[in-house]
């Protein structure tokens, strides 16, 4: 029995009915609109949007994912009573969370560029990697949220843990790395630093986007640092691989947790 399609359809309808997705679209569109108006729609706009994407999308994914698991709890229990493959059920729940959220984020980011007629051509080329990283981070943070929510039954504690994860990834991790870099000092530490950065998906996304953007000449220097450590093409591939691992591993862990969990 193929249950994935109807389940997915149900989750999607639920999600798109909720008003908060409209809120996501509007917030991102408004931010983009303001940035285009004040920064003139040049490279600076994209560089500023990088910040928005790196900070906002993981938070949205974590919160939405945790809420979704607990929200869909009764439905899940109901469906588990049926002869349904748990793996399919999980896939349905996960995609039903990620697809609407990623759509809302992409629509919100693209909209202002579309109505300023900036989407096609050079700006579009610069926006594309940003969208890819945004979608990637949404998928990753949702997977992590599922893992957290499946492990912690209490709603409030789960949400707290999710936000804690965000705080670590978005802020504290970089503090630790900075401390490390300053302590080690002038010795060449690019390679170990990149390795530690790779342990944080937000950092991976950030370095990837910085490498691709030419908002400031300094980024050429950052690029040179990465090149020095890994070589440009190899470096970029390694970063993309790290990001992919960050999607696959938590998803696998969450699937396992879902399969073993007694609801």
């Amino acid at each position: 029995m193929n249950t994935l399609a109807p389940l997915l359809r149900f989750s999607l309808r639920e999600a798109f009915r909720g008003r908060w997705l409209i809120g996501v679209v509007c917030t991102l569109a408004l931010t983009g609109e303001l940035l285009i108006r004040f920064a003139g729609g040049g490279a600076t706009t994209i560089v500023s949007l990088i910040d928005v994407v790196l900070i906002l999308t993981p938070m949205l994914g974590l919160v939405a994912g945790t809420v979704q698991v607990h929200h869909a709890r009764e439905l899940t229990e109901l469906l588990l009573a049926q002869p349904v493959s748990r793996r399919r059920l999980f896939t349905g729940l996960y995609l039903g969370n990620v697809i609407p959220l990623a759509t809302a984020i992409v629509v919100g980011l693209v909209a202002p560029f579309l109505w300023h007629g900036l989407l096609f051509g050079e700006m579009g080329m610069r926006l594309a990697p940003l969208l890819l990283v945004a979608v990637g981070l949404t998928g990753i943070s949702s997977a992590l949220a599922f893992l957290v929510a499946l492990r912690i039954d209490d709603r409030v504690r789960a949400l707290g843990a999710a936000l804690g994860l965000w705080l670590i990834a978005a802020v504290l991790w970089d503090g630790l790395i900075l401390l490390l870099a300053v302590m080690i000092g002038q010795r060449p530490v690019e390679a170990p630093m990149l390795a530690v950065l790779a342990l944080n998906p937000i950092d991976v996304g950030r370095v990837l986007l910085l490498l691709g953007s030419d908002g400031a000449a300094l980024l050429g220097y950052t690029g040179a640092v990465v090149q020095h450590a890994l070589g440009t093409e190899v470096g970029r591939a390694a970063l993309v691989l790290a990001l992919s691992l960050w999607l696959v591993l938590p998803l696998a862990a969450a699937t396992r947790a879902f399969q073993r969990k007694s609801f």
Binding site: T44, V47, I50, D51, L54, I55, A170, V171, L172, W173, D174, G175, I177, L178, A181, V182, I184, G185, Q186, P188, V189, E190, M193, L194, L197, D203, R206, V207, L210, G215, A216, A217, L218, L219, G220, Y221, T222, A224, V225, V226, H228
Partner: protein, 407 residues
């Protein structure tokens, strides 16, 4: 054009060189021309040994007059005063590891004029050695960008000369676009030096000189001014000099330099000062550089005022405890102050050095954390309560409005 040629023909003793004769080589024509005469070079390709100009002649090339060294030797040398070489095309000197082989060399000559020539695939294009008041203007110089620095010569090379006037040349594909060593009273203006391997211009031991209105773009490094006193640099553009160690302008071990109305854009470091004393910088624009202005410890006594700093990742970086350079009345895009008494100056001082800039000075790898939220929080905290950033690098009276374009 025809008229000017006619004037030339009437003006004095003119010898005509053409592949059809009577004179088939430029050397023979020069030998037949008295001092003060003119050699008119008709269109054609001339292959002959080194041409020596040992009397005051004017060599005037028609369009398509090409001197070809066939990759074997230098082409022309000026050994007399008042020589003019105009309108010729010099090509294919070939490289040399044992001599400074130049297409056109002037030795110990006064008042030579090298105008409107083309230099293609030459090792050194123009080489002034011990000259006085020579003019090098309007030439188009395109080297063959080699892979090895040692296998490349400079575009315009001026050694131990006085009053060299180098203007309106376009120079690409050489080791250094323009190279001045042991010069006095040099004047370099309105040149474009782009896509050269090492520097757009290299300026060493050259006192009392100024350069104005030049563009140095996309070179290995923009301009290096070293071991020099009293240099004025005005309205030049230093752009797109990128790479991990690259800069728009390097001032090293110099004193009493003036920087007025220059533009530094999209360089890894706009202006790097190392051991620069009493540098006065006004009306310059630092835009979209990695580091706008970088002062190393031994720099002192300078004045930085009326400049514009916009969209640099770091406007100013200093190493060590700071510098005695005086920052007053610049415009900073990153300034967050206000102007209640409406005198056009901010009421709270601006600290142009970010904490993160200091950390990067200390550990360059932390540059990987550029644009991280944590670093922003640190910077914000430092702005409220400065602890680590140098207290003496401070603009007490920052401008509220950006100064106008140019000066």
């Amino acid at each position: 054009m025809m008229l000017s040629l006619a004037v030339l023909l009437i003006a004095g003793d003119t010898t005509v060189v053409s592949p059809a004769g009577p004179y088939r080589t430029i050397a023979a024509a020069v030998a037949a021309t008295p001092a003060g005469g003119t050699v008119l070079v008709r269109s054609g390709r001339y292959r002959e040994p080194l041409i020596v100009l040992n009397r005051a002649v004017t060599i005037h090339g028609e369009h398509g007059a090409i001197i070809d060294g066939e990759g074997q030797h230098a082409l022309m040398v000026i050994r007399a005063d008042e020589v003019t070489v105009q309108g010729l095309t010099f090509t294919a000197t070939g490289g040399s590891f044992t001599e400074d082989r130049a297409a056109l060399r002037a030795e110990n000559a006064h008042h030579c004029r090298i105008l409107d020539n083309r230099f293609e695939e030459t090792f050194f294009a123009v080489y002034l050695a011990g000259t006085v008041a020579c003019e090098v203007g309007g030439n188009r110089i395109a080297g063959t960008m080699g892979r090895v620095e040692a296998a490349m010569g400079n575009g315009v090379h001026s050694w131990s000369s006085r009053e060299a006037d180098i203007h309106d040349n376009i120079i690409t594909g050489h080791r250094d676009g323009i190279y001045l060593e042991f010069n006095r009273l040099a004047n370099v203006r309105n040149n474009r030096s782009e896509h050269n391997y090492r520097y757009g211009m290299h300026f060493m031991y050259s006192d009392s000189s100024h350069y104005t209105g030049n563009t140095f773009a996309a070179n290995g490094g923009g301009v290096a001014v070293m071991y020099t006193k009293v240099v004025t640099m005005e309205r030049n553009t230093f752009a797109d000099n990128g790479g991990p160690t690259s800069y728009g302008l390097l001032l090293k071990e110099i004193a009493d330099a003036q920087l007025i109305g220059n533009l530094f854009r999209r360089n890894t470091t706009g202006l790097l000062a190392d051991g620069a004393d009493r540098v006065i910088a006004t009306g310059n624009r630092f835009e979209e550089n990695g580091w706008g202005l970088r002062l190393l410890g031994s720099t002192s006594g300078g004045t930085i005022s009326g400049n514009l700093f916009r969209r640099n990742s770091f406007d100013v970086a200093v190493n060590g405890a700071g510098t005695s350079t005086d920052f007053t009345g610049n415009w900073w895009e990153s300034y967050h102050g206000w102007d209640l008494d409406r005198d056009g100056r901010g009421d709270v001082p601006h600290h142009p050095v970010r904490l993160f800039a200091m950390l990067v000075e200390h550990a360059q790898a932390s540059l990987l954390l550029q644009r991280s939220l944590f670093v922003r929080l640190l910077d914000a905290a430092e702005r409220v309560l400065p602890v680590l950033t140098p207290a003496n690098v401070i603009d007490a009276r920052p401008l509220m409005r950006a100064p106008k374009e140019g000066v």
